[in-house]
Structure formats: C-alpha cells, structure tokens
Amino acid sequence: MNTLVTLITAGITFGTVLMYGTLGEILTEKSGNLNLGVEGIMYMGGAFGLAGAFYYEKAAGAAAAGPVAIILALLAAFAAGCAASAIYSFLTITLRTNQNVTGLALSIFGTGVGQFVGELMRVKEGGYVALSNNLKNAFASSIFPKGLIDIPVAGPILFSHTIFFYMAVILAFAMWYYLSKTRSGMYLTAVGESPATSDAAGINITRYKYLATIIGGGISAIGGMVYIVTTAGCVWNHEGLSGVGWLAVALVIFCLWRPLNAIWGSIIFGSMMIMYLRVALPFIPTQLYKILPYVVTVIVLVITSMRNSRDKQPPASLGLNYFREER
C-alpha cells in the first residue's frame, strides 16, 4: 500500500511536467499544427525558467520572495516557449514550410538553446547554478497545510503536491471548457478540422493558428521549467529533460486530443517513468524497465490507429498547411 501511494505521488510529480507539455501540444494540434518541437520548447522552458528565478534571487538577495520567484519563473518559461513556437508559426503558417521538418528542426534548435543558456549560466556562476533553500522550498512544497497532507493515503495523493500540479489541473479544465463550450473554441476546432471550410465561413484562420500555436508552445515550456524546479531540485540538469517532449507528443495521441484525459494520462505515464525507482521487479534490468512508457506509447499508437470512431480521430487537417488558392 505504501509503495503504491509513493508511486502515485511521485508519478504525479513527474506527470505534472508531462501535463503541461501535453496540454500545450493539444492546444497547438487543435489548430491543425503538428508542432514536433515540444522537446526543444521544454528544454528552453527549463533553462529560461530557472534563469528567471535565479537572476531574480541574485538581484533581490535574501529578500527574494517565493511567490515572486514562481511568477517570474513561469513568465520566463512561458515567454521562451512562445518565442520558440512563434518561429515555428511564422515558418509553417506564413511561409508554409513542412510542419514535420520544421518541428524536428525546432526540437534540435530548442534543445541546443536550452543547453547553451543552462551551461552559460553554470560557467558564469562558477560551475554551479542553484537556488537558495528558501526558494527551493517555495517551488517544491505543497500549498496545503500539513494537517491535510498527513491524512493517510488521501493526504499524500491529493494534497502533497506543488502549486504547479493544481495549476495544471485547473488549466486542463479551462481548456476543456474553452474547447467545448465557447464559440472561439469551436472555431479553433473548426480551423483544425477544415481550414477551407472555416475560411469560407469567414474565420480568421491565420490568427487562430498563430495564437493557438504560440500559447500552446508557452504552456509546453512551463513543463520544462516545472521539471527543473521540482524533480531536478532547482539545479540545471541537462539530461533529465531528454525525451520528455516526445513523450508529451505521444500523450496527446493517448489523450485523444482531449484536455481532461491529459490529467490521468500524464499521471499514468509519469508513474511508468519513475516506476523503476520505486518498484523493483526481479529479473528485469533497469534499462528495459525504463523503456516502459515508450513501449506503452507504441501500443497506444497501434490501438489508436485501429479506432474507427470519427470523434476519436486527430484534427482532420493536422500537419497540413493551408493555401487559400489551392483548391
């Protein structure tokens, strides 16, 4: 029982990272843009998010306040993600480059930029970039009082998480509401399904595609920042994030492009990612164990491609650029 609770709790911690990546990519893909650059975007989010908090602390010294650091880290990561996906948007929407190629390029580019900024900070600060314990606690501790966390079983599972987890859940609900209940959300879905139809209906396709892709990129980038300030312990770590972005892309498919599914989907994937640390299985080498999420992704991809319900298909124009003149 205890192992299970620990597993779920740790799964949620890592799942939060995935949830941001996935939610951002769902928003992007809803507009018909397949942004494969999530990996790079999350790297940039991680590096810039940490930089935001780190330089704030450096400037404010001992007076640095946790909430301010959190807001600054969020903003820095979000801005970095927006900037990266703005490049992607300009290339694919305005210049109509191939989305797959552009996305892959962005992955490589973003990873490089993230590494560069992270390493630059490290070298400049004499080999080690870390926040003070004061801020670390602000980032990593729960927003609920200790009494709630101490409730057996339910306490750790429901209340022991960082503010980022609860924000992600709220974001998932907000996106669900936006996509299924508002006119603008309906238009965004329409754009992703059939840009030609939406264009004929007088919807400004370019605007919807740009906004969804840029904001989506910003949300994904927050995931990278959350990883650095929670799992990685507020220390620049250039290895931990590798593969997370790809997992988020796979999760989007797993979640059937529905924000609410992203909540439990991320937690399941997060649990699988860290299972090798918490649940030891005899005879299975750790290396094999670690590939579990990827195996599950493959299985999910196979199953999803067999589904025939139209409601569970990807946005119909996903990955295709729209030319008005091409009929």
């Binding site: 508002t182 006119r183 309906m186 238009y187 879905t189 329409a190 399904e193 059939s194 030609a196 139809t197 939406s198 004929a200 209906a201 007088g202 919807i203 139209r310 409601d311 298909q313 119909a316």
Partner: protein, 512 residues
C-alpha cells in the same frame, strides 16, 4: 406590370490566363423564380456563379442588386447582400453537429446551441427539410449534408440561392425532395439559380433557362416555351469545322471486346452499367458524355485500375485468339503481352511524377527491364531525347522536373512515353484539356498516326466538334450506360447531344 430584377449581371468577363471563362455575359434574376443555368462542361457556369458569390472577381462587367451597383469581394460580402451559394463540394466540419456547422462563422452575441437548434427546426419546418440539428455530420448521407448547406445559407437570411449541380450526387427520390423544397422556397419569394446540365431537371423545376456555351451567353428562354431539343441546340451550338485530318485504315480488325462491364463505387453507386462495345484496330473510338457519366471508370477499368463488379474485357491477338483481361492488375496485363497504353486525365497525378525529369518518367514504364539492382538509365535517357526531338518538347534538359513544364509539354511527354511502348490499345482521357490550339493539333495528329499503325485508340473527349472530326465512331455514355454508338462521319452534333442527355429522361419517365 414589369417585374424588376433582384440581381442583374451586365457584361461580365473573366479570364484565366489566355482563356476567357466568361465573355460578356448578361444575366437577370427575379424574386420568386427558379432560373436554370444550363451549359456543357467548361461553358463557364460555375465561374459565373463564383463571381456572384464572391469567390472570383470579374475582370470587367457590373453586378446590380435591386438596381443598385454592388461589389462582391468575398463570400462574406455576398452573404451581406443576401447571396448564398451551395457548392458541389460541401464545406462542412465532419465532427461537428448540423447546428454547429450552421452557426460556424456567425458572430452573434452569445453561443446558444439550444436556441440555434430551435431556429434550425423552424427553417426546416417552413420549407420541408428533414434534418436533426444535433446529429454529427459524419453520420449523415450526402443528401442530408446538402440540406445542411442549404439551411446554413437560409439561416444567414439569404434571399438569393445558387446551387451548383445539386442533383449530381442525389438519388431520384432525393432529387424530388430537393425540388419540392426549392418550389417551397420559390413560393416564399426567394430567387434561386440552379446550375445543371441535365435537361429533364431543367424542364421539371425551372421557370426560365439561361444557356451558356464556351463562356458565352447564348440566350434565355421561358421553360414553358421551350423543349429539350431546342435547349440541346442552344447548348451544343452549330458544328464548327476544325479540319482535322481523318484518313481511313484499310483493314480494321477486332482488337478489344468489352461485354457487360459493370462497376460500383465505394458508395454503392453504379458507375458503369452493362457497358458493351468492340474496339477495332486502326480506329479512333471517341467516347462522349457529360462529365461523370462513367468515362473515367471505363478507362480505369479497362487498364486494370478500377475493380469490376462483372463483365469481360477480351483482347484479340493478331492470330484471332482471345485473352481475358478482366480483373487483371496493370502489371499482369503487361506481362500477358498486351500493349495497353493509358494517358490519364490527371497527367501529373496519375501519369507522371512531377518532380522527376523526362528520363525519370520514362523509367516509370521500364524500371522492371534489365537485370540487377541498379537502374539502367541509358535507354530511358535515349527515349527521352527522342521524344524531346520528335514531339518538340520545350524543356531545358531531359532531367528538368516535368512539373515545371507547360501543360502542353507535359502532355507531349506523357503521350510520347505511352506511344513508345508500341501499344495495341491506346486509352486517352481528355487528352487536349487545357492545351492551346497548336498543341491540340499535335496530339490529334499523333493519335491519328497511331491509328494508321493499327492501334485501337479510345479517345474520351468533351469537345463534340473534335470528336466529330477526329473519331471514326463515337460511343456515347449517359449515366454509366451506353446510350448509343454512332458513325462519326454520318452523325450530327444534335444527335450526340440528345444521346448524352436522353437516357436520364427516359429513366425519369420510367419512375413516374
């Protein structure tokens, strides 16, 4: 009392490059009437209506609404003027419900699907539509999708409705339903234009008929004062002499015997219905028909690309022995030693690979030749050079991507390659579509040359004047059936025109 037109189009001209799709067209539309816009394929009907619905801008000419000059720059402008067009290809979001599709792009104060559903129901009851607003589009039949498109336009308060070949995809029963709805709308004072080339429908539902031919306005008549024969005359016009050389081949022999060919498409519609004919060597067999009458399916079925439901295609060898080709894929047909060449309608889609050069495209026919894993470029290269010289293909180099060549040169490359295999049967679909006069004649001469070599040429065409002068016999398709095979030297344009449309009306009468 003189009625005033709600819409008046004056002197409308629209050019695409060299071709005038519409040339000085005048059209008037009144409230409470159904105007049929009649014409053959490519006569400019859809182009004209696209200018009314804001998709194209006229190069010159004026549009008036209630006597006032208007400018329609976009579909949105058209909608502001109360003009709504229902296109042949429906613009609907499949995963949305009917109601969601209807309000798409309508920025009212608040989105209230329940209210929309009620309003949609109102419109449906008023005109006799049957749709469930809460149903998803992917669950709907073609006719229901069309209904949504019409309701969408009405929901936006359109007074003028344009329907582009609305019955092309409907069953006879659905067509009757649609016509009833159109009559209800007419009673309600709406002005309706239907674009069509089906004479029986024109006679049945319209009040007036405007006829276009090759981008020009021929005239406008009251339906009650006319008959199908007169309309056919207006539609096809008088014969034009083209002076295409048509020698006779001395010893025609049976080459291809097609019997009871029947094909059914994915949606269960019969595309070919018991088609039987014989093609002779040294003959050009022209195939005429309104587009979508089964021409494409016929050629594809013969070349082994379209699945047959039943029927046989027998190839007759020189020694008189016969070979059954029905059901064989193209590669097997080739292996059987039957020289079947196919010049498809979609040149760069089905015929050639656009990003490869002439040499590469030649290899598409010969990549199986030779041994070993490496490509043998020498022969295709020589062939490409030969075609380049003999057919006067204008290209910088045999390796220059064919996609970047002009339409005429692309067609020369394709025809040249198909002829190079020394075919016994040559199938061509719309071989001169989009080509200028000179290139068209080059192609005619090439085909005639093949014919004189004893090839059985099957030429699917849309220009009746060309068919009359190029072909030896003409097979007319109508609704997937052969409505007649006539001697091209003796027949007239009128006869073919009637055959092209006649079968439908017969069938219609049988239904009543």
């Amino acid at each position: 009392m003189e009625k005033k037109p709600i819409i008046e189009m004056r002197g409308i001209t629209k050019r695409f490059g060299q071709v005038a799709a519409n040339d000085d067209i005048n059209l008037e539309l009144y409230c409470g009437e159904i105007l049929a816009l009649l014409g053959e394929n490519g006569s400019g009907k859809t182009t004209l209506m696209n200018m009314l619905s804001g998709i194209y801008q006229p190069d010159s000419g004026e549009i008036y609404e209630n006597g006032e000059r208007i400018y329609i720059r976009s579909p949105h402008d058209a909608f502001l003027h109360g003009i709504g067009m229902i296109h042949q290809h429906y613009k609907l979001i499949e995963v949305f419900t009917a109601a969601q599709n209807i309000i798409l792009g309508l920025d009212e104060e608040k989105m209230d699907l329940a209210k929309t559903n009620v309003r949609v129901k109102e419109i449906c009851d008023r005109y006799g539509f049957e749709i469930d607003p809460a149903r998803k589009v992917y669950d709907m039949s073609v006719s229901q999708k069309q209904t949504i498109e019409i309701v969408k336009v009405l929901y936006r308060g359109a007074e003028i409705l344009i329907l582009d070949e609305p019955t092309a995809v409907l069953t006879p029963q659905e067509t009757q339903k649609l016509f009833n709805v159109l009559r209800n709308m007419k009673e309600d004072g709406k002005a309706i234009i239907i674009i069509t080339h089906k004479l029986n429908e024109v006679m049945e539902v319209s009040d007036r008929v405007a006829v276009l031919r090759k981008g020009r306005y021929v005239g406008c008549v009251d339906t009650k004062d006319t008959d199908p024969q007169a309309l056919t005359d207006m539609m096809v016009g008088h014969s034009v002499s083209l002076n295409i050389d048509r020698p006779r081949y001395e010893h025609p022999e049976k080459r291809l015997i097609v019997e009871n060919l029947t094909c059914i498409d994915d949606e269960g519609v019969k595309k070919l219905d018991s088609v039987s004919f014989t093609a002779y060597s040294g003959e050009i067999l022209g195939v005429a028909g309104i587009s979508g009458s089964g021409q494409k399916e016929l050629l594809e079925a013969m070349s082994g690309l379209y699945p047959l439901r039943e029927g046989s295609i027998r190839f007759v060898n020189d020694d008189g022995s016969e070979k059954e080709l029905a059901g064989l894929p193209p590669m097997k047909i080739r292996k059987a030693g039957v020289g079947m060449a196919f010049v498809p309608e979609d040149r760069l889609g089905m015929g050639l690979v656009g990003s490869m050069g002439m040499t590469g495209n030649m290899m598409l026919r010969s990549w199986k030749d030779g041994k070993g894993a490496l490509l043998h470029k020498k022969d295709p290269n020589a062939l490409a050079k030969k075609i380049l010289e003999e057919l006067d293909v204008v290209t910088p180099d045999v390796n220059f991507p064919v996609r970047k060549l002009s339409g005429g040169n692309v067609q020369k490359v394709l025809v040249g390659r198909e002829i190079s295999i020394g075919p016994a049967v040559l199938l061509t679909a719309y071989a001169v579509r989009g080509l200028d006069i000179n290139t068209s004649y080059t192609i005619y001469n090439l085909l005639t040359e093949q014919k004189m070599k004893g090839v059985a040429v099957i030429y699917v065409g849309e220009d009746l004047d060309v068919l009359l002068e190029l072909a030896d016999r003409i097979l007319v398709l109508c609704g997937g059936q052969v409505s007649g095979i006539v001697d091209a030297r003796k027949t007239t344009k009128d006869e073919i025109g009637l055959l092209m449309t006649q079968f439908n009306s017969k069938e219609e009468k049988a239904h009543e």
